[in-house]
Symmetry: C2
Subunit: 241 residues, 2 copies
């Protein structure tokens, strides 16, 4: 605690005296700089020489730190071009380590239970706060899911994007990340391509999107509830077979 | 898709032909091996030579991959001892990149709204499913929060542990990770040490824990609702000042 006040005045000293390995600490400092300077996604960072000088460390340490941040999806290294702030800053694949859980089916079902608590009220908020553009985007994504089903291509990604878009339309800025994380996890563990699920998904997606479009919070909420509940029951049936 | 069936038979070829940089792909393979072999947290990995041989890559690549996995909290390197599976596999600090959001206060308030949807029903489940040991642990954690408040030490960590413990007692295996993530984020952005919040936190924590101990889902739910709602209102007040 006593060291805290020095952080801004003496970044170099602080970086060198804390307990984490140096590249980790430099990575933390770089993250702070990205935030402090409001670097936006896609923004190019200064080159290695300048960064090394500013951070008071060697270039090899900067390189290590950049690798760490790239592995955490904070930075993106484009070879021959430079280092950029990632388009999905900080978002890592499977952030809660769901793939390390032993009982995947139980996890998929428990994730559905969490989604049933969260997504229906979020859909209701979306019905209140959505813009016309967001409605168009939702319809486009619902259509994409249908097309992918028809072509027998994995539709999970479009499905996740639809759920994130609905969360975005709610106006709650924390919701898209959380909804995205929850809906990304499920297809990792269970078969979401079965016909029974397919027909239901197409129908309820449409119901959800049209309820949001019409500005009906209650219908949006109920449709989302039916949608996730149907998934949950289907996954439960899968564990029995 | 045509390449998929080869994954298990020809891991080396697969590792070398995909699009990600080699250490990234080796890191992915190592993650698969950890999961496939059911390595548990704290389990020691084979040494670098053996790993390099098994994965069909050089030792320096293994070293890079280990660093990547350490930065993602999948592995933990204990110097002079070896490489271990991390105790909190896959869990990274700030997994949804909340610290990159511009308006921290708006984020804290929106996170409260998400928590209000999630944690009261989880507390109700905890009242139904908790064990005696979990109740003891909750009481211990609630006491620790009070002691830290009294000693004017940052109580956030004990607070997060209490919310995770309640989520654990719900029996939903996805809940602790999500509750932990949501409650970890908030003290990063807002001042949770104010006296008004302090007294309320102590009182409602006790109410929540005792309702769970008594096995009263409705009281547990209401107490958790009051608790988070009080936080939300307090953060709203902070934005006005």
């Amino acid at each position: 605690m006593a060291r805290q006040p020095g952080v801004d005045k003496f970044p170099i000293t602080t970086v060198k005296t804390a307990e984490k390995p140096l590249p980790e600490r430099v990575a933390d400092r770089m993250t702070e700089l990205i935030i402090a300077n409001s670097y936006r996604p896609g923004h190019k960072l200064p080159n290695e020489y300048i960064l090394a000088e500013r951070l008071g460390v060697g270039r090899s340490t900067v390189r290590e730190a950049v690798k760490l941040l790239a592995s955490r999806n904070v930075l993106e290294v484009r070879h021959g071009s430079g280092t950029y702030v990632s388009e999905s800053t900080g978002l890592v694949d499977d952030p809660l380590g769901f793939r390390f859980y032993r009982d995947k089916h139980a996890l998929a079902i428990d994730l559905c239970e969490i989604r049933i608590l969260l997504e229906p009220p979020i859909a209701a908020l979306a019905a209140e706060n959505r813009t016309e553009i967001q409605v168009d985007e939702m319809r486009g994504l619902a259509q994409r899911v249908e097309d992918m089903y028809a072509a027998e291509i994995d539709h999970s990604e479009a499905d996740v994007l639809l759920h994130k878009k609905i969360a975005e339309a709610s106006g709650n800025i924390a919701a898209p990340g959380i909804a995205g994380m929850l809906s990304t996890a499920i297809p990792l563990f269970v078969d979401v391509s079965r016909r029974a699920l397919r027909d239901e998904t197409i129908t309820t997606h449409r119901r959800i999107v049209e309820a949001i479009a019409k500005g009906s919070p209650r219908s949006a909420k109920t449709a989302m509830q039916d949608h996730i509940e149907h998934n949950r029951v289907n996954f439960l049936a899968q564990t029995m077979t």
